[in-house]
Symmetry: C2
Subunit: 436 residues, 2 copies
């Protein structure tokens, strides 16, 4: 039998199980209303979309003059490591984000998660290197860091999200301790898990801090497609100094089953002999040893979706964006209805975009609380402590994306019942860990 | 600008580029005959297969009584980390390989490459741990080790492939030096890159060595589906001591564009508190931080392929197996025709199964030789030095899988022209590295 201590340290770390937990909790409690995982609403799915998008992509390829053998080869055979739909993604980024990316700077990945993993692998060389993450932070980036033995340093967020002054202070403190901050991961728009979005001045200031301290910004742009017109541009669209690696995904703007993400890296690497090579090419080499290449079949489905919608994911998601924003308002209204004049010390933020919001309660929010909520009240959510959030032991994340408006309302009321009962009972029995 | 020395060491290692090179060389020299990469023959591909297999899978799901919402959710939404077609794969393994695997021991991966990466990540904990690989070895396993800073020790192969006595000697030497051999990677059937297959006694002896020295065997079974009836069983089918982690892929037996692989791990992990958990569950947690989950769309296509062929990949590949075996005979015959009585010191092995064979020539086989062969003779192949093969500087790998019999014959004749000319010219100019 294998013993845990002889295996990689990540296996004994409970945070490694969080991703599976988030994706599988709804399977464990099928009758509970899930305000837990960041899953898109299933009313936007339809089985015939797969074949429709695929056919549309094939039609486009034929119109481009490609013959059947070449098209068949693309879908069935091994193919380019960096992807088959780089150009379509570059055109989408220009149209949707005003982000000028050369197709050769794009690497298509098996979801945003693989993009995070390969970027961390390339950038982090030794034990002195540190990855900065907001606190709280998306669990995928800290999980990837755990697998690669990359040191992570949390930067506490303020009420409006990540604060450039805090980033600066953290970098200076780490440097003084002989560490080497290499990159800062962040979700500047409709953050996971808090729902907050950075202002334009904050974005510009972060770019200035990155330049000053020679660090890279890893911009996770998963939820930006749902933001209203007039929102601040992506960091990458403001980046004049090649400071930003931009990471995106079709999981929220298309559907998760595609497992298609991408990164945009326009940085250069100077070799020992003085020659240069694109970072994107080096990242593709790393990717080749993780998944060889991304399925050209699901790339074709994603490409067909782009083509169907005039190369605009924002256009494809107009209805979805309105739906999610209405759900956020519904959740906030239900919380106000229950706690606005209850006298209980329960508060929440009110993001107007994205999938998430945060509720603060007057008791410990742990696995046992979640288990009790799911089992006895029929509602799932996520303890904020899953998100590298020191000081957030009394917070929970609500995801409103997966549900109908009526389910959101009902789910929040179930949560409110749970919270009220907890507030009434100062002590409660511990139950077995849900994640264990 | 980034400098190479501040990035992960793998980026400066030329072997990291081999996978992309193998997959993209045919793109660089579109008119050359490719005896290089291990790509399946495209005559077995047809565009309508994707929809046919997918439809068949959906039909099967409906027959099982699942409703449209559940099926749509499976294909579009986030899903179980370990995969949606574990049971179908377990049934195929029983039918094709006599390998008894519980569905919960199976983890579906984004190709065999991800399976290798997550297994290495889980098993290798510190700098004393060593992965044994045959020399020569498949480049995917050494590439994954490079990304994870896992130490690799080659075990020289004999004429019939990996020799248990050599494994034993290597393990003892490493232990004496204070190192800790943890696992041996191998392709026991129709090996990549040599084409050799291990005898039944050699397999049993390797299992005994693994037990004696407490190491795991990582069995890569990618090519076994093409072997004739009566071939020795998979190591995993002979494994009575949970010594083997079995790794398979649909890339050769189905098609590479699926990017579907799988692993079978029935080992247990003993935790610090004395409780146990399945290794497969821990590997799924690792996978969740690499790619979250494998696309349920391509899993459904692979599942549909299995269902179409009575859950037998061997049945699905009867024609392909005969085709590849004939191509191996064609290549050997063409080499015999050119070199059998030429007096030149050129030799080759004659595997009767799989995709590959090895040719030994009387000159250095390097990138420059390959570049010249591709450019001036119109034929691609792979220098054996790409495969961790010390002492194989004068060998090259031929892959016969990608070509028609006539192309194989013509490719080998072009290669023979190149070899003859090289033998006639003792010195030649170096040209720029092809991989550079």
């Amino acid at each position: 039998m294998l013993t845990e201590h002889e295996l990689h340290s990540s296996l004994a770390d409970p945070s490694l199980a969080v991703m599976s937990f988030l994706n599988e909790a709804t399977l464990r409690f099928p009758d509970a209303i899930s305000l837990a995982a960041g899953r898109p609403y299933e009313g936007f799915f339809a089985l015939d979309r797969i074949n429709d998008y695929l056919s549309h992509y094939l039609e486009h390829a034929r119109e481009q003059g490609r013959d059947e053998a070449a098209i068949t080869r693309e879908l069935f055979q091994y193919g380019p490591t960096a992807g088959t739909i780089r150009e379509l993604i570059a055109r989408m980024l220009l149209k949707d984000e005003g982000l000028v990316a050369a197709p050769q700077d794009v690497v298509v990945t098996a979801g945003c998660q693989e993009a995070l993993l390969i970027v961390l692998r390339a950038l982090f060389a030794d034990a002195e290197d540190v990855l900065l993450v907001p606190s709280p932070s998306y669990t995928g980036v800290t999980g990837a860091a755990l697998l690669l033995d990359v040191s992570v340093e949390p930067v506490p967020e303020g009420p409006a999200g990540l604060e450039p002054a805090q980033v600066r202070a953290t970098v200076e403190r780490l440097r003084a301790a002989g560490r080497r901050p290499r990159a800062l991961y962040l979700v500047p728009e409709a953050s996971n898990p808090t729902g907050s979005s950075l202002s334009l001045p904050a974005r510009r200031e972060l770019l200035a801090v990155a330049k000053e301290y020679d660090i890279l910004l890893l911009e996770d742009h998963a939820y930006a497609v749902f933001s209203p017109a007039g929102s601040p541009p992506a960091l990458k669209a403001l980046d004049t100094d090649r400071r930003v690696i931009h990471i995106g995904t079709f999981a929220k703007s298309g559907f998760p089953g595609l497992r298609i993400g991408y990164l945009v890296a326009d940085q250069l690497i100077r070799r020992a002999d003085g020659s240069t090579r694109p970072l994107s090419a080096a990242l593709a080499d790393v990717k080749s040893m993780v998944t060889v290449n991304t399925s050209p079949i699901t790339q074709a489905v994603a490409g067909g979706m782009l083509l169907r919608h005039g190369l605009s994911l924002r256009a494809a998601n107009t209805e979805a964006a309105a739906f999610y924003r209405a759900n956020l308002r519904t959740a906030a209204a239900a919380l106000a209805e229950r706690f606005g004049s209850s006298g209980l010390p329960v508060s929440w933020n009110e993001p107007d975009r994205g999938f998430f919001m945060v509720v603060t309660v007057p008791f410990e929010v742990d696995d046992a609380a979640l288990e009790a909520s799911a089992r006895d009240y029929g509602v799932l959510w996520t303890p904020m402590r899953y998100f590298q959030a020191a000081g957030a032991e009394r917070q929970l994340r609500l995801s409103v994306s997966y549900l109908t408006p009526e389910q959101v309302r009902q789910g929040v009321h179930r949560l409110a019942d749970f919270i009220e009962d907890r507030c009434a009972v100062p002590r409660y029995e511990e139950v077995d860990s849900l994640v264990a």
